[in-house]
């Protein structure tokens, strides 16, 4: 079984967001880049499948030099090989899906694991788009995955519960929190990764779907009001305010 794991590098949530001079992108100055947390679940799942029934795991990221960190980490965690697809991996999920589809098309992957969404951009789009471009089924927001002989059975989160999706392999599966507990890289893994190389490929040209024309900071929330008095007084003045001022009730 051959598994592709797509890993996206994203700005750390703690990053203070500053808009660049162009008014439409993130000022990269103070950004700390991390692997999107959902992608860690995707990678962990791939490694567990490899440990369970045997598989070749290929980690892939679309981006520039900086994504090598993500790929090295994937190698240290147990990926067999890593591919850096040189291209813009941030601006548009549709373009990224085209690049990954062009790479994956003839490689015979049985399973493609993605994160449910790339933190920050929060598109939650690349996986389903990739599945469509490859003409394979998808299952998204997955908290449990079982593989059969050429089939999958996955539990996906929906409003108020979950549902079971079944389909055939190859397929694209997008990982949600709860799928597994990602491990940390072992010293042995880190040493072994040092000996592996990252294959670098120029991404195929892609057509853009969307572009960001302006990035703005949200307006400051007006200062709030604290309720005075003992708990009973606080409670009744809060409800009164919610009723009369906020008109929530």
């Amino acid at each position: 079984m051959k598994i592709l794991v797509a890993l996206k590098q994203v700005p750390d949530t703690e990053t203070r967001i500053k808009v660049a001079a162009d008014g439409r992108s993130l000022d990269p100055a103070d950004v700390k880049w991390i692997i999107s947390p959902y992608d860690e679940f995707a990678l962990e799942e791939a490694i567990r499948i490899k440990e369970g029934k045997g598989a070749e795991v290929i980690a892939l990221s679309v981006g520039g030099d900086s994504v090598k960190d993500v790929l090295k980490n994937a190698l240290a965690l147990g990926a067999d090989s890593a591919v850096l697809l040189r291209g813009d991996g941030q601006s548009d999920a549709f373009a990224v899906a085209q690049m990954i589809a062009a790479f994956a098309k003839d490689k015979g992957f049985d399973l493609i694991l993605c994160g449910n969404k790339g933190l920050g951009g929060d598109n939650a789009a690349m996986g389903p788009m990739l599945a469509e471009l490859l003409g394979v089924p998808q299952a998204g927001v997955i908290v449990k995955l079982d593989l059969g002989d050429g089939t999958f059975r996955a539990e996906r989160e929906i409003e108020g519960g979950s549902e079971i999706v079944e389909g055939s392999l190859p397929a694209v599966i997008t990982a949600q929190k709860g799928l597994n507990e990602p491990r940390y890289a072992s010293l042995k893994g880190i040493m072994a990764a040092k000996k592996k190389t990252i294959e670098e490929i120029e991404a195929a040209p892609a057509t853009a779907g969307v572009q960001i024309t302006s990035l703005t900071l949200p307006p400051e929330r007006p200062a709030g009001r604290k309720m005075e008095g003992d708990p009973a007084a606080q409670a009744s003045s809060l409800l009164q305010a919610l009723k009369d001022e906020a008109k929530v009730f």
Binding site: T15, P137, G140, S168, G209
Partner: protein, 323 residues
């Protein structure tokens, strides 16, 4: 035409779909286009309700193969309808199904896609979207480079406004092809309450709740004021038996209720990422310096175990939630 993919639940139009339709109506009026509501299923009984939200035409794709949700089959239905009607804008609500099917349909149409948008407008005949990014710390105005434009609308953000439309029903042929995935069964949680992502009032508890059993006082408050209960990740991960589906935040649900009451939640950025779109935020925390107060429209500095029961009592006394 502006086409809105709509979902039915037990024969009734889902609220997020009504919201998407209303927004579609507004955009159609602004750009002189017609509004189509699109339904798929084994039966689309109930689809006529879309006329209440301004649909000029109601398109129904009915086939046994569409009885359960299948991402590939449904994406084909959406893309086929867009092509058949020459629609330029395709909207769906950002629900579990909407978020799954819309990007797939977009790829099938070679179209750009903006997900979970909180603002839409038509500029020179093309869709423009505003979406929160970077944990709600910024808003991205997004334009489309493609002839067809696809977006999902965040539930609870766009008002569902009634406006009657002609609502002429037209049936579409079932999608053809060999579809490779299907939903086999639904494992619903026992509670019949609305999902957090659609709730109008949310009462959330954090690590300050100290134990899962204590969430009972939040349930009581929520019941009194017509809300549902959520939680911070610290509470969900504490091993108190709270399901992940309750988690609000960056790695949980993104919610946009009218009222969000945070009890014993400090206000970490990852939590705020999930609830900063709430219209009114109430913080109940014993630490007056907790960051959540910076966001709160109303704050109560105090012990939640004293304040929450008082709120429930006062809500009942005032007859709130009885209307």
């Amino acid at each position: 035409m502006i086409l809105v993919f709509c979902e039915l639940k037990e024969g009734l139009l889902r609220k997020p779909s009504a919201e998407a339709l209303s927004e579609g109506r507004r955009l159609a009026d602004a750009s002189g286009k017609r509004l189509g509501a699109l339904f798929a299923g084994a039966s689309c009984a109930g689809a006529a309700e879309a006329a209440k939200y301004g649909a000029d035409v109601i398109l129904t794709a009915e086939a046994p193969t569409l009885a359960s949700y299948s991402s590939d089959a449904y994406a084909a239905v959406l893309a086929d309808a867009v092509k058949a009607k020459g629609a330029t804008v395709l909207l769906a609500a950002a629900t579990a199904v909407g978020k799954d099917v819309a990007p797939r349909a977009a790829a099938r149409l070679g179209a750009g896609y903006a997900s979970d948008v909180t603002g839409l407008s038509m500029v020179d005949g093309k869709l423009q979207a505003v979406r929160p990014v970077y944990a709600g710390k910024a808003f991205a105005t997004t334009t489309f480079a493609t002839a067809v434009q696809v977006a999902t609308t965040r539930p609870n953000v766009f008002p569902a406004a009634e406006k009657s439309g002609a609502g002429a029903v037209e049936s579409l042929p079932a999608p053809s092809g060999d579809f490779k995935s299907v939903v086999k069964e639904i494992l619903a949680k026992a509670s019949g309450k609305v999902d957090l992502s659609e709730a109008n009032i949310i009462v959330s508890g954090g690590r300050g709740m100290k134990d899962g059993a204590n969430f009972k006082i939040l349930e009581e408050l929520a019941d009194a004021i017509g809300g549902v209960v959520g939680a911070s990740r610290a509470a969900v991960d504490a091993g108190w038996g709270l399901p992940h589906s309750m988690q609000v935040g960056q790695t949980g649900k993104v919610v946009s209720p009218t009222l969000y009451i945070a009890c014993g939640i400090s206000g970490a950025i990852q939590h705020i990422a999930g609830m900063s779109g709430s219209k009114f935020i109430v913080a109940i925390n014993k630490d007056s310096e907790a960051p959540i107060f910076k966001l709160a429209s109303y704050g109560i500095v105090g012990d939640l175990f004293e304040v929450v029961p008082e709120l429930t009592k006062a809500a009942k006394a005032m007859g709130i939630g009885q209307a």
